[in-house]
């Protein structure tokens, strides 16, 4: 509920482990890939997604229904986790879940900038972060970017956004605002972590995530050959890259691949890198980083059973499930055959 008092990992871990058991298995994914969107919705209705499908079923249908039900269920589950946890545990979990706040803030800003209607923006929000419903309502009601900045005045995004807003007024591009939000998120993610052993494991995982994100971005830039400064997309906090090495490596694909192949992630990403060299497939590499993160998360949850790590491990697995179901539903809508969809899924 809040960051005061002592943490209660026993309670949260017990609940999360029970929920982990009800995530979809390989077998169920295989069934899902052979269903039509409406059958998928019906299948979901018989599992954990029952309440969401029933609540949204009268207003939406098909892939939209699946998409909204997934988002809403994700938000409900993660909000629940934040509700249960107390003390240091709350702080550690909130760090990670704030990425949904960052996503929501960026979505609202973009919505205001492009003049999208309130409903359009609302369906894209994922209410899984720290912001409560009242703040989100006020964000949605904001009709200018200045109003958005004002609503966020008393949050951690307040001061950086205020500075970025001045820059935005001069240039009229959103990049400074979005960068400000991202920077606050990543600073908070890795700053001031307590020093016990499970937390160090958690930190190592977060760093791996930042590294992989940097690697993905660098590869994408190197492949596209676009004239974009890679340093602008650099995320602080990782171990593998610094701003300069990333800027240098993103110009040359071969050097970049070699650099990653010689790093501490060589074991996890080795096969994907070879595939990248042979088949030139960026998707395979991105899947490999996702799968490596997920495997990392699974391992993370078993080393220190009563700590923050099983909770994070569940959060990752749940996110992955939502992404997988979304990929299946979208693939089915586009008429892809089952085996092609299966290749798109990330299952450990």
């Amino acid at each position: 509920m809040s960051a005061v008092g002592s943490s209660n990992p026993e309670y949260v871990v017990a609940r999360v482990r029970a929920r982990r058991g009800s995530l979809y298995s390989d077998e169920e994914y295989r069934k899902l890939t052979r269903m039509s969107p409406s059958e998928i919705a019906r299948f979901m209705e018989e599992s954990t997604y029952e309440a969401e499908i029933n609540a949204l079923g009268s207003r939406h249908a098909g892939v939209d229904l699946i998409e909204y039900a997934l988002n809403r269920n994700l938000a409900k589950q993660f909000e629940g986790i934040l509700d249960w946890s107390e003390g240091g545990l709350y702080d550690l979990i909130a760090r990670y879940l704030r990425k949904f706040d960052a996503w929501n803030v960026k979505t609202v800003i973009r919505g205001v900038y492009t003049g999208a209607s309130q409903e359009e923006v609302e369906v894209d929000l994922i209410r899984a972060g720290e912001f409560d419903d009242r703040r989100i309502r006020r964000l949605l009601e904001a009709d200018s970017i200045e109003a958005v900045v004002e609503v966020l005045e008393d949050t951690i995004y307040g001061a950086p956004l205020r500075e970025a807003y001045a820059e935005y007024e001069e240039t009229d591009v959103l990049v400074p605002l979005e960068n400000a939000v991202d920077r606050v998120f990543y600073e908070r993610l890795l700053g001031n972590l307590p020093g016990d052993e499970p937390t160090r494991q958690y930190e190592a995982f977060l760093k791996a995530e930042v590294d992989f994100r940097n690697a993905d971005n660098a590869l994408r830039l190197a492949r596209s050959g676009a004239e974009i400064d890679p340093a602008e997309y650099f995320i602080e906090g990782g171990e593998l890259f610094t701003r300069d090495t990333l800027a240098r490596l993103a110009r040359n694909l071969d050097e970049l691949v070699e650099y990653i192949a010689e790093s501490q992630y060589a074991d996890e990403l080795g096969p994907a890198l070879r595939e990248l060299e042979e088949a030139d497939s960026l998707i395979a590499f991105e899947h490999a980083t996702d799968a490596a993160l997920l495997a990392y998360g699974d391992r993370l949850g078993t080393i220190h059973p009563v700590s923050v790590t099983p909770v994070i491990s569940y959060i990752l697995a749940k996110e992955r499930e939502v992404e997988n179901i979304r990929a299946i539903a979208r693939g089915k809508e586009a008429g892809l055959p089952a085996n092609e969809i299966e290749e798109e899924l990330v299952i450990t």
């Binding site: 026993e10 309670y11 017990a14 609940r15 029970a18």
Partner: protein
């Protein structure tokens, strides 16, 4: 809290004030009860968490929660030995 009990033990043993057998036995039972309580704290909250997800776990949760009580029962033997 555990550090505090350690400290207490040290003081009691080093000062050598605890020469009365019955008082020592009483202290032993008390400390055992304290340990059992501490163990039950974690198990209890995990059990309640599991029950919140699945009510069928009530019986298992209850049994596991009171298992550390055996510590107190065993410590009680000391009282009769002194």
């Amino acid at each position: 809290m555990l550090e505090a009990t350690n400290e207490l033990g040290n003081v009691v043993l080093q000062e050598g004030t605890l020469t009365d057998g019955e008082a020592a036995a009483a202290l032993a039972v008390g400390l055992a009860a304290l340990g059992a309580g501490y163990a039950e704290r974690g198990i209890g909250s995990a059990a309640v968490g599991a029950m919140a997800e699945d009510e069928d776990l009530f019986v298992n949760g209850l049994i596991l929660t009171v298992l550390p009580e055996t510590l107190v029962i065993l410590a009680l033997v000391v009282v009769f030995l002194v």
